[in-house]
């Protein structure tokens, strides 16, 4: 029985298990990028197996959680079984030797007090020098803290796993599209269709603005929000991409924006240069053309920003002469200036297509909505702390080199024979530099 138990513990504390778990995690990751991570509406045949194995939500599946739990246990057991040895090495009770260097130099007898000279040089290279048993030798050890590096890293990984666990179990994440002037307090969490979460405050969108670069790419968009808390007190806040705001433990992000259909446009109608009418229209609206009562004008579409050329309205004129379909741009002058000849090339863009009439888009009430993401993530702070611990641990592990130096000297007939012996546990380059520094300083 005892045999069985130690066997089990050996497995949990084995690196072979670690390697297997890391490999399984990598495989799960590969599956997660090639199997689409959304639940299909219906599953057939082989897909059913995938569905029951939770392959469509692999990173929240039981298999994944199981591997993470096993990895945590593995890390704890590995660390506990190996820590005593690492601790002895860190304390300098046990020396690990992978590389050895031996050098010998001769110094003239006039050189006095080699001991204090060597000791101070070693101290400059961050060596610790315990009192040596003999008067003609000095021993130094450096970089031993490196032995604790892996344990720092793994402690960090455990904190990281704990943080991600908190995030995925207690975190709330939802989206809301909100139009100008609207107020909401519900977000769609998307865990199941139509599932919502009620926030402890209301979000009111006062104004949404979007700026574009000349090539039509969005430059920045912002929502001017008013957050109304339970006690009816309100805060004003400007929300932009990359600049979330924080309210009562929730973070609000500017995630996206879009256009609602049915923006309102004000059209000016001219015959030659005389204004014959002015009308406010919406998409789908039909109205008689002034002075030509039989002719009907249908508003086919209204666009906030058509082909990156600004607001535009698509009209269809139905008359005795046939149907005329064309766009009326708000910034037609600007478009003509940058694309001369475009009207001849694309008749659809000519607001004078139904001559002698001529349309001008005088005003356009854009109808943007702002896409907000609202999130409460109790694990984020822990994950941040874990990241710092892990990076610190990695630096300690890989950029500090554990090494020892032993310097002995004896009197020859008319010289000091100084021997320098060094050992390094991981990489030899730092030790080599130490030795050449020591020799350089002693010889001059």
């Amino acid at each position: 029985m005892r045999h069985l138990r130690t066997g089990f513990i050996d497995i949990l504390a084995s690196i072979r298990l670690t390697l297997a778990l890391l490999f399984i995690l990598a495989v799960l990751g590969i599956i997660g990028t090639f199997v689409p991570q959304e639940k299909p509406d219906e599953v057939f045949g082989g897909q059913k197996i995938l569905y029951h194995l939770q392959m469509y939500d692999i990173f929240h599946s039981y298999i994944f959680y199981f591997v993470m739990v096993m990895l945590s246990i593995n890390i704890i057991f590995c660390s506990l079984t190996r820590l005593p040895q690492a601790w002895r090495r860190f304390r300098g009770d046990q020396v690990q030797v992978k590389f050895k260097i031996r050098e010998e130099i001769r110094l003239p007898l006039e050189v006095e007090d080699i001991k204090s000279k060597v000791t101070s040089l070693l101290k400059k290279r961050l060596y610790k020098t315990p009192p040596a048993p003999q008067a003609t030798e000095v021993e130094g050890k450096a970089g031993l803290s490196s032995y604790l590096g892996p344990y720092i890293v793994h402690a960090g990984v455990l904190v990281l796993i704990a943080g991600t666990f908190l995030s995925s179990v207690f975190g709330i994440e939802g989206y809301a599209n909100i139009g100008e002037g609207e107020t909401i307090n519900r977000i769609e969490t998307g865990k199941k269709m139509g599932q919502t979460y009620t926030l402890p405050f209301e979000i009111h969108l006062k104004k949404f603005t979007v700026e574009f670069y000349e090539n039509g790419m969005p430059k920045q968009y912002r929502s001017d929000l008013e957050i109304i808390k339970d006690d009816r007190r309100s805060i004003q806040a400007a929300l932009m991409v990359n600049h979330p705001i924080e309210v009562e433990g929730f973070r609000i992000y500017q995630a996206s924006y879009g256009e609602k259909t049915g923006g309102e446009a004000k059209l000016g109608i001219f015959v030659k240069s005389e204004k014959v009418g002015e009308i406010k229209v919406k998409e789908g609206q039909k109205f008689p053309l002034p002075r030509e009562e039989k002719t009907r004008v249908l508003v086919l579409r209204t666009e906030n920003n058509l082909m990156h050329m600004g607001p535009a309205v698509k009209l269809s004129i139905q008359s005795d002469r046939g149907e005329f379909v064309f766009w009326v741009f708000k910034h037609i002058e600007k478009i003509l200036a940058s694309h001369p000849g475009i009207l001849e090339e694309f008749k659809m863009l000519n607001p004078r297509l139904y001559s002698p009439y001529h349309f001008i888009l005088e005003e356009f009430q854009s109808n943007y909505y702002s896409g907000l993401q609202v999130k409460r993530d109790p694990g984020a702070l822990l994950v941040g702390v874990a990241a710092i611990i892990i990076v610190f641990g990695l630096v300690v592990t890989y950029f500090i080199s554990p090494r020892t130096l032993k310097i002995c000297w004896e009197k020859d007939e008319h010289l000091w024979r100084v021997s320098i012996e060094g050992t390094a546990a991981r990489d030899i380059s730092t030790l080599k530099r130490d030795v050449s520094y020591l020799i350089g300083k002693l010889v001059t």
Binding site: I15, T18, L19, L22, F23, L25, A26, G29, I30, G32, T33, F34, Q37, F59, P150, T164, S167, E173, Y213, N215, M217, P218, K219, Q220, Y221, M240, V241, N242, H243, P244, R251, Y253, Q254, A255, Q373, K375, D377, A380, V383, G384, A387, I390, V391, L394, V395, Y398, F399, D427, S429
Partner: protein, 274 residues
């Protein structure tokens, strides 16, 4: 654009340097090695200069940003990191063999950037999500990691070639030395990849509202991280060396390439590189 022209010249300089490294292998002892080193140093200097020009130009054509924000710029920076890291290693180990493997990587990356018609080299303004101070630290650390892994890949290839008895293998450094250097490159890359993933997470926390969204690029960076973690554990505890280590450096580099290029064909959030 002046910077793009200069970079296309640098491409040829890198090819020339690669050629010299090859000649250095075939005719050891002659001055080909010195020429190779100085050619690649010259190329690297011009490359750095071109990057600085481009940086300056972003202030003229846009609002000013570090020139690492689209696919073209990332290729150019990747190539720069590979060449820079290689030159550092060469100076440190005093052996030019790795040049035969590193310079062609730098050359190919830059050639793809400069001459592929599908890679757009104009300076583009930044979309809102990219307007962040985390951009620089994230991209910088990630590409330094990629560069270190590329050098490890070169070393891995070298290890296999050094194993075969041939004229070339006699010119290669000791296999133990290759093995040790390969380990150091991977350790360096691993630290930078970890930093790159974490800086990316912090940024995502502010820009996308989540420090981790299992976006394909994130997932693949984690897979890459796991493969190299596997390597480091295998080495640290079970003393994986030689062929096993060299083989893992090749697998790891395949993951790097997929993280960098392959995921562009999968839907996701990191779409700036398309």
């Amino acid at each position: 654009m002046m910077d793009a022209k200069l970079l296309s010249i640098v491409t040829f300089v890198y090819f020339g340097a690669f050629f010299c490294y090859l000649l250095h292998v075939i005719f050891p002892g002659r001055w080909w090695g010195t020429i190779a080193t100085w050619t690649s140093r010259l190329g690297f200097f011009a490359h750095t200069f071109a990057l600085l020009i481009r940086w300056r130009l972003t202030y003229v054509f846009s609002t000013g940003h570090v020139p690492i924000t689209n696919f073209y710029e990332s290729l150019v920076f990747f190539s720069w990191s590979v060449c820079g890291l290689y030159l550092l290693v060469e100076a440190r180990i005093k052996n030019r063999m790795l040049g035969v493997f590193s310079l062609p990587i730098a050359f190919l990356l830059l050639a793809y950037a400069s001459f592929s018609p599908s890679v757009e080299s104009t300076i583009q303004p930044l979309i809102p999500a990219l307007q962040s101070n985390w951009l620089t630290s994230h991209v910088l650390t990630c590409f330094l990691a990629y560069a270190a892994f590329s050098c490890a890949f070169g070393l891995g290839l070298m290890y296999f070639i050094a194993g075969k008895e041939s004229i070339i293998s006699r010119l290669l450094p000791q296999r133990d030395m290759i093995d040790e250097l390969l380990y150091q490159m991977i350790a360096l890359g691993f630290v930078f990849l970890t930093l790159g993933i974490f800086t990316g997470s912090v940024w995502a926390h502010y820009a996308w509202g989540s420090y981790w969204s299992w976006d394909p690029k994130e997932t693949w960076s984690l897979i890459t991280w796991l493969v190299y973690a596997l390597f480091l554990h295998g080495r640290f505890v079970r003393n994986w060396r030689g062929k096993k280590a060299a083989f893992l450096s090749l697998v790891g580099f395949a993951c790097v390439l997929f993280t960098y290029l392959g995921v562009n064909y999968l839907p996701g959030l990191h779409t700036y590189l398309r």
